[in-house]
């Protein structure tokens, strides 16, 4: 059964995963989102994955850890991963944990899509 906290669309080799749950704090939510997203690099070699974070208001270190796991899966498939629409108030979480050095960030998912379209893998 698809994860109820995600809307996933794929086109032109780009996969956009919109997270629709504002609070990413509870283990069942984090695990459900993680399980679904971890399948994507297995289904799409050289995936260009964009996580749309616009609706996310709270996240925990457990969710950050899950993002790292997804990132590793994407890299194994020779793909790339970006985050779009991360709220400005949330960026310090990524900077403090050095994840801003690992992943690509764009103001919106649309910006990420345009960037990936201009530079296909």
């Amino acid at each position: 059964m698809p994860c109820e906290h995600l809307i996933i669309q794929a086109y032109d080799g780009i996969v956009l995963a919109q997270i629709t749950k504002p609070r990413l704090l509870e283990a069942p939510v984090i695990n459900a989102i993680g399980a679904e997203l971890l399948l994507l690099p297995e289904r799409h070699m050289k995936i260009s994955l964009i996580l749309d974070m616009e609706m996310v208001e709270y996240l925990s270190s457990a969710m950050l850890g899950k993002m790292v796991a997804i990132y590793k899966g994407v890299k194994l498939s020779k793909g790339r991963m970006a985050l779009g629409g991360v709220k400005a108030s949330m960026m310090p979480l990524f900077k403090t944990t050095q994840l801003d050095k690992l992943m690509e960030f764009f103001p919106t998912s649309k910006d990420a899509i345009m960037f990936y379209k201009r530079k296909p893998l």
């Binding site: 509870e26 270190s61 850890g65 790292v68 990132y71 590793k72 979480l93 944990t97 050095q98 994840l99």
Partner: protein
């Protein structure tokens, strides 16, 4: 970043007025209500403004999860003891679990590039980023956090 302090001693007494003192079984389904209560108490006391709510929720979530899952190993027969105190210029929160504590060596150094791809070990770093003081006592089975009161404009002032 400074070395994390983990003392074998009990935590020093909370400073100020204790406004919440509760024992909660180590059940994660009880976590949201506990966190919401603490947040509303601090917002209601004017200690936290809306801009800080996001960080406060994150810090409380990390501390409660650590106490329930790592300290008490998720055993619902074991409680965590939560005490919140406020004073005019700041607040303190102490959470005690019934576990055996932990070693600072168990916490990865995420400044090390080789640790960047680890899927755990970022919670304490996040807590230390926002809090003014974070110390562990009783070998790690007791956490004491402090933060200065916010100012109406959104910034915080020193305790």
């Amino acid at each position: 970043m400074k070395e994390l302090l983990i003392s074998a001693d009990v935590a020093p007494p909370l400073v100020g007025t204790v406004i919440h003192d509760v024992r909660v079984p180590s059940r994660l389904d009880l976590k949201p209500e506990l966190i919401d209560t603490l947040v509303e108490l601090l917002v209601g006391a004017g200690q936290i403004n809306e801009d800080e709510r996001q960080w406060l929720v994150l810090v409380l979530d990390e501390a409660v999860v650590n106490a329930m899952l790592h300290g008490n190993e998720g055993d619902p027969r074991l409680d965590i003891h939560v005490r919140l105190a406020t004073q005019p210029d700041g607040w303190s929160l102490q959470i005690d679990d019934q576990g055996h504590g932990f070693s600072a060596d168990a916490i990865p150094n995420i400044d090390d590039p080789e640790s960047l791809l680890l899927e755990h070990g970022r919670g304490i770093r996040l807590m230390r980023e926002w809090l003014d003081s974070l110390t562990y006592h009783r070998g790690g089975a007791s956490i004491l956090m402090r933060r200065r009161r916010c100012t109406p404009g959104g910034d915080s002032h020193a305790v």
